[in-house]
Amino acid sequence: MTAMRRYLPGVLVLGIPLAWIVLFMLLPFGIIGTYSFWLKKYPTFVPAFQFGNYVTLFTDPQYALVLLRTAKISVLVCLASLLLAYPFAYYLVYRCRSAGLRTWLYMAVIAPLWISYLLRAYVWKTILGTQGVLNSFLIWAGIIDTPSSIFLYNQFSMVVTLTYIFIPFMVMPIYTALEKIPANLIEASADLGMGPWRTFWNVTLPMSLPGVAAGFTLTFCLSFGDFVAPFLVGGPDGSLIANVITTQFGSALNWPLGSALSVVMLVVVLGVVSMGDRAERRGTAGGV
């Protein structure tokens, strides 16, 4: 009785989240991992322990192609987000004099996160489509005569959509990193003879790299696992790894292969996360 009274709070506080993680995260991963070694036997699959599914993944060029395409799209999304997010965050932290405006601009980036993800992806269909806003504008402006279909259903539209959806995850860590840089370091650099550009290059940029690494990791992992944007705006050559996994678990009814793909994807994502983590830690090793 006393033992129970002693351990009950601890069990409640730690036990429930632990049970949650075990039940809904580790266990499913375990199941997926197990499935990945099973054998497909028409019409379903049977338990086994063999590496055939992995061999297929690495020998059949179509899977390698999808993996590479996914990685390429994710990297492009990261770069596009970075190019947009860094100047924006820099402006917010260093150039925006009004605290009110800063809050508004920051919220403008964060607010879309509260809107349904599906809706945000769908919006780009209406912007980029043949009957869409962009085409209507170009025709109205007299730049083109007939609606163009080059904007939608390709990798370009996918990168645009994913960049739009995930850019808050790039802005937030960069903003935080820039904000944490003590103002007197910027002043010290100017004091020691460096103009604004050199100060940016020598002090601001290197000290904000942990934020960039965090943003890169988040954006990459989110893009890497996305299957809605390719589905909505990706078109015929736009399948990403997540779409292939969906197919394997759905119409193809090849759970073992789908599971093997999932495991590969998990390994890639974990690899990126640990790399990002290391980059962040190296960046902050100097302490503040």
Binding site: P182, N184, L185, E187, A188, S189, A190, D191, L192, G193, M194, G195, R198, N202, V203, P206, M207, G283, A285, G286, G287, V288
Partner: protein, 365 residues
């Protein structure tokens, strides 16, 4: 002495009601150690930051070695600053930090290395070249910041409360070190501090500031012995203020009636009988008279407090009108302790005429 910094009617008004610095004119001689002294909010840091180029004045001008630098950015001034929390770049080693300011000066790699070496040797930390700032102690970081600032051989070095983050023992040691370093490198130092001891120990000239203006400037001794106002007398050293009335006066001396007697004081303005004045007395200038001893300029009262502080005793003397003043008494040897005055005993204090400060009016500093 040729002036290196000439400040002319300099003001920084943030808004009509919020005034940082108000119409300050100041000339700093080449090679001097000048301290801007005052409580927080008196504008001393703002003045320093304007000299450094980190704030733009709203009026007035700053000349550095004869050239107008009022609107020059920090990176175009031959001035360097030691920041309050040192502002060392955390992502650079000590060597990189110190060499940072030399990169754009057109120095060769060899020259950079030699100058970094010399600067680090100057502060006695050459062995820390490869370490990072977070691996150093507070005192070491302070020295690195100093090395980084002097390595460019600026015309003027600014120090913003350079010792405030150090503990008391180290601070005392650094005061001496900083002063001798300044003499060694021969660069003009302008330091901001709120610590009067620091100012007295290190400076050739002290500028006491009050609400954005200069209250008084002069050598430490001038300020200590001839404070121009109760504000300065109160800020530098300890001073007891007593209300008094002029009995008799000419341009050079005045006889003033206080609660416990009359004092003759050396003055530099003409008081007329009946003038209400404030008298300032420093505890260490008061001499407790032995029984039967006579002296000119004596105040009488009773001992109401005895505070022991190691070096001596601080006695609280209550005068006949109820006002209290402090008098210090050194205890040179153990024998003297038997003569520790007891509370309630009558006491007579003598003070020299040149040690009586007289300020016009009834002032509560």
């Amino acid at each position: 002495m040729t002036p290196i910094i000439e400040i002319d009617h300099l003001s920084k008004h943030y808004s009509p009601t919020s005034i940082g610095v108000d119409d300050i004119s100041l000339s700093v001689g080449d090679g001097e150690f000048v301290t801007l002294l005052g409580p927080s909010g008196c504008g001393k840091s703002t003045l320093l930051r304007m000299i450094g180029g980190f704030e733009t004045p709203t009026r007035g001008s700053i000349r550095l070695a004869g050239h107008d630098v009022t609107h020059a950015p920090p990176y175009r001034r031959a001035i360097n600053m030691v920041f309050q929390d040192y502002a060392l770049f955390p992502h650079m080693s000590v060597g990189q930090n110190v060499g940072y300011g030399l990169k754009l000066m057109g120095c060769s790699q060899l020259e950079i290395r030699t100058r970094v070496y010399d600067a680090l040797k100057l502060v006695g930390l050459y062995d820390k070249l490869k370490l990072f700032p977070h691996q150093l102690s507070g005192g070491q970081r302070q020295r690195i910041a100093l090395a980084r600032a002097v390595v460019r051989r600026p015309k003027v070095l600014l120090l913003d409360e350079p010792l405030s983050a150090l503990d008391a023992k180290l601070r005392e040691q650094m005061q001496i070190e900083l002063k001798s370093l300044q003499e060694k490198v021969g660069i003009t130092f302008i330091m901001v501090t709120h610590d009067q001891t620091e100012a007295l120990v290190m400076s050739d000239m002290i500028v006491v500031m009050e609400r954005g203006r200069i209250a008084q400037q002069g050598t430490p001794q001038q300020l200590y012995d001839h404070p121009a106002s109760p504000y300065v007398a109160n800020f530098i050293g300890t001073t007891t203020f007593l209300p008094g009335q002029v009995r008799q006066g000419d341009g050079t001396s005045a006889r003033i009636a206080l609660g416990g007697g009359e004092l003759v004081a050396n003055v530099d303005q003409a008081f007329v009988p009946g003038d209400v004045v404030t008298v300032g007395l420093r505890p260490e200038k008061m001499r407790l008279l032995a029984e039967g001893e006579t002296a000119p300029n004596v105040l009488e009262g009773r001992i109401s407090e005895v505070v022991y502080y190691g070096l001596g005793l601080r006695l609280g003397i209550t005068l006949s009108d109820g006002a209290r003043l402090w008098a210090d008494q050194l205890l040179p040897d153990t024998l003297a302790r038997s003569q520790v005055p007891s509370v309630g005993a009558p006491a007579r204090l003598a003070v020299a005429a040149h040690n009586v400060f007289v300020f016009a009016g009834q002032v509560a500093p």
